[in-house]
Symmetry: C2
Subunit: 569 residues, 2 copies
């Protein structure tokens, strides 16, 4: 490709309404153009990157035994009513009425359509397992679309679905797809983590999210430096401290804390580490009033809290309820000497503390030197209530946790019989008995990967593509092509030679001034830049520069080709 | 690919609701499945064919200098209002209201979106010309979707748009794309015609339709056997007869035709050729009552009629108007001796007739031996009013016309400044003056081509794919694979060898009975079938059969490879 025959449209100005770096750089590089809120055109430059992602995804899915098909984007309401999702999916479902007043949705996902396909196509266990996938435009009517294609309304997705006779076979294919996902992100040159995910409300039996690591990511991920363990921070288990609870060393005493209502303020007043204090939460669960305790320096995790028996649908207690049970007001609460009997739920770390500091249930006072068993009964429940933190031991016993931020770009899920049950998708087994199929579903946000890759790989000059995602691997830049035919010819010859050797190369023959040309090539993130100039020709060298290097090097032809991974001819 | 790992789902029964052969065979072969009216899922088998078409289209468009991009399917109402098409496009435009009550359309075409892109991206003549294309899902809310994917509501289309400084450059690129289209349909192995089309209401300066020839086609095409001339029958010019008008030979006389109101009945009664009679149409145009004449055996062409001065918006005359002007009733009308002065418009063929037969303007009577100049004045207007017919001389003076039926699968159109004008898409020219861009648009119905190819290529056993469109070029069929490992192994080895040589091959290892297996392979239209059996292995031969041959041949390995176009290894 010659850039003079292409449509490149870059800009130096950072667009005012683009909040994240990937959105800014995709606009500046001219990869996307906004048509409406959350709806983007992919320019020729952007599409080149999108297609590279698409190809990697397609090939690795096929290698995992998945077969490509193409389902419609417009889906009839009746199917969505069978699973109850016409209502349950909520406002993200873009509903459409046709000229005959029939209702449809622009598919945000295809569980209903594919399950309908399966119940019509599959009748015997002999046809199983079957894994199908498609790469297709989806629409989710996000209430607040933003960050460019990172959270767009119209987007490109790979969705796959597998059908099985039983849970074991589903589990086998689930891991097959899991490995395909690892290959996809590895092949694209991205740093990523497969993160254990909560199957929560959907009720499947296993689920992992795939995150591209980037400081700007929305999700915090806890990962082990000694194993493949990774989980969303909110889901990562915080183990109980390895050391046993120390023996009491202090006597309990009441200290004045007139205006100190937080652990931080109390610790500052008493000049003790925050980790010596205990935070008290007053809650109301299914069985009434509960006090939950976490160490002052730990973040309470509401998902874990809700997993404690009786707290599935807990709420914060009102001031009246607090007064009735603890005889105090918020800011000075604690588990010692409550007005009425209350249930105490302690985080594992709190249960292992001695000589801790907690509210005195008396306005203006805290207690120091508090000890379990001596000053108050042992907790009713000891549970993991807090977020995992960097430095915690990995829950799998191997290594130490670190925290990274990530952008979710893939999700694998064992749905089990959920959709097949709702839609009556059965096959006859070997005994001729009808059995509900087990299903897996596997998504990848193809367009989102492009933005996530930029969040992970950019610098002040622009995008720094991993080679496999770059619109072109090599840019051959010509200095002064219009006035120097020999230079133009040498550059065209090099470009042709690279292309013939299978190197994805672009010839920048636009005739721009060098500074402007180089800025463009850096902004759009081409990994290898080769400059052809009259001076170089005379010296028999090309000026080579890697996108990640600070300096250029003068290389002769053979050295250049070797650097670009081509054996010298 | 092994068929045992694929999802093939064929049927012997012809679906009751499928009217045309392509729809029937696509359902029977299991290429598509209906989800809703005019909305189809492409199964893995169908998608393989669709992708082959897509690839051919993409590569030839790129060869014509077009650059691929991807515009959104969901388009804001505001853009469609700028061109007035939000209303004018009619019921086919699928309108969508999002959760914020903003209106959008599911794009049936992208003139508005691409013109908006162009006015934002292009500011200088230096950026022109630019031709972009996309291959994308479109939606047209057909009032009566039918014929499967032939006239579906959701369909796959390649749409391209070009932008130019002036009409000459548009014309140049128009012909470039025209040639790309010829390459596409040739490469796909289809018999087709590029048909001159009417630019009529849209007002562009040139337009051609590309038709795949098939007896079941909706459109009749007149094409020359002596040149590249082809046009829709309704648009093909019918030249004036080459021979001059003969001299009168008969006297005019009135004959009784009591119940004979049509040319056919009058010719039968008088025992004369239909070509001796003249059909009379009573019309009212801008200047009042008009009589139009065509030969009895010719089909009057209403498009041509409307091109006569004063008849642009003609209507048929009422019986009262006929009585007032001709003094007669329908069935016995003619141009001789009208009650009042009327304007006579004669087809070129009629103007060249002598001794013809026409209504007498007296109920129950016709006139024979009528002659221009003697029995009535020469016609006021002589024009081409009829459809071209097989055997007519080609309008370009080279060859004779034949009539074929065709299915429109492509359309190229010089839009000129129409959309750019409406949407203010200008660039600065060399003099720094703003100029409205000239545009071309170029569509190909990618999914429609699949159906059209089947309409052109099928037999009693099923689809007969042109090689470039077949889901696989070669099927290697194994007899009894489960009980005969040597046969299974030999077949797998042949399949691997073909695949390694770049031959798109499938291994039918499903273990079906031969009859059932062969019926499937014929139904899905694989061009080359190779059977591997124990008997063949013993004899050192494979049983080869072309999809179009009546008999199989026993070929040794080298002969087989040669037949499949691979040099013997």
């Amino acid at each position: 490709m010659r850039l003079s025959q292409f449509h490149l449209s870059t800009s130096k100005e950072t667009p005012a309404d683009a909040e994240v770096v990937s959105h800014q750089l995709m606009l500046r590089a001219g990869m996307i153009r906004k048509l409406a809120a959350g709806i983007y055109t992919w320019t020729p430059l952007g599409l080149r990157v999108l297609r590279k992602v698409e190809t990697a995804v397609r090939e690795e899915m096929q290698a995992a035994g998945a077969i490509e098909m193409l389902m419609p984007s417009v889906q009839p309401k009746e199917l969505w009513e069978e699973t109850g999702r016409w209502e349950k999916f909520g406002g993200q479902l873009l509903k459409i009425k046709d000229r005959k007043d029939a209702w449809y949705a622009y598919g945000p996902t295809h569980e209903e359509v594919v399950t309908d396909f399966a119940r019509n196509e599959l009748s015997s266990y002999r046809q199983l397992p079957l894994t199908v996938f498609q790469i297709q435009t989806k629409f989710r009517d996000e209430i607040r679309p933003r960050f460019g294609v990172m959270r767009a309304r119209e987007f490109l997705m790979k969705d796959a679905y597998s059908f099985h006779l039983d849970a074991q076979d589903l589990d086998r294919q689930y891991h097959e797809i899991y490995r395909a996902y690892e290959r996809i992100f590895t092949r694209l040159g991205l740093r990523f983590r497969a993160v254990f995910a909560d199957t929560g409300a959907i009720g499947g039996s296993a689920s992992h999210e795939f995150h591209v690591l980037a400081d700007s990511g929305e999700d915090a991920i806890a990962w082990s430096d000694g194993s493949a363990y990774a989980a969303n921070v909110e889901l990562a288990e915080a183990l109980a401290p390895a050391a046993p609870r120390p023996a009491p060393a202090e006597a309990m005493r009441e200290v004045e804390t007139p205006t100190q209502k937080t652990c931080e303020d109390v610790a500052a007043l008493l000049d003790i580490p925050l980790a010596r204090t205990v935070r008290t939460l007053a809650l109301v669960g299914a069985d009434g009033f509960v006090v939950a305790l976490a160490r002052g320096d730990h973040a309470v995790n509401t998902i874990k809290l809700a997993k404690v028996a009786g707290l599935a649908e807990y709420r914060m207690a009102t001031e009246a309820e607090i007064a009735a049970h603890l005889g105090s007001e918020p800011g000075f609460l604690g588990p010692v000497g409550p007005k009425a009997a209350v249930r105490v739920v302690a985080d594992r770390a709190v249960a292992a503390m001695a000589d801790f500091v907690v509210g005195a249930n008396r306005p203006g006072y805290h207690l120091t030197g508090v000890n379990w068993g001596r000053d108050l009964p042992e907790p009713d429940v000891v549970a993991d209530l807090r977020n995992a933190e960097a430095g915690d031991p990995s829950p799998d016993g191997r290594g130490t946790l670190a925290i990274a931020r990530g952008i979710e770009v893939g999700h694998v899920f064992q749905l089990g019989p959920k959709y097949a049950e709702a839609m009556g998708a059965t096959v006859l087994d070997e005994q001729g008995k009808a059995r509900v199929m087990h299903m897996g579903c596997y998504g990848i946000g193809v367009s989102r990967i492009v933005a996530a890759a930029i969040e992970q790989n950019s610098d002040a000059a622009g995008i720094v593509w991993p080679e496999p995602m770059a619109p072109w691997r090599v840019a051959v830049c010509v200095i002064n092509p219009k006035n120097d035919p020999a230079v133009a010819e040498a550059a065209a010859a090099l470009h042709a030679e690279l292309s013939a050797a299978g190197v994805d190369s672009v010839l920048d023959d636009r005739g721009l001034r060098p500074g402007q040309m180089f800025a463009d090539i850096e902004l759009i993130g081409i990994p290898h830049r080769v400059v052809v100039s009259a001076r170089g020709l005379e010296a028999g060298t090309f000026e080579y520069r890697s996108r990640t290097a600070a300096e250029s090097e003068a290389l002769d032809r053979d050295a250049l080709l070797a650097r670009l991974g081509i054996g010298a001819a």
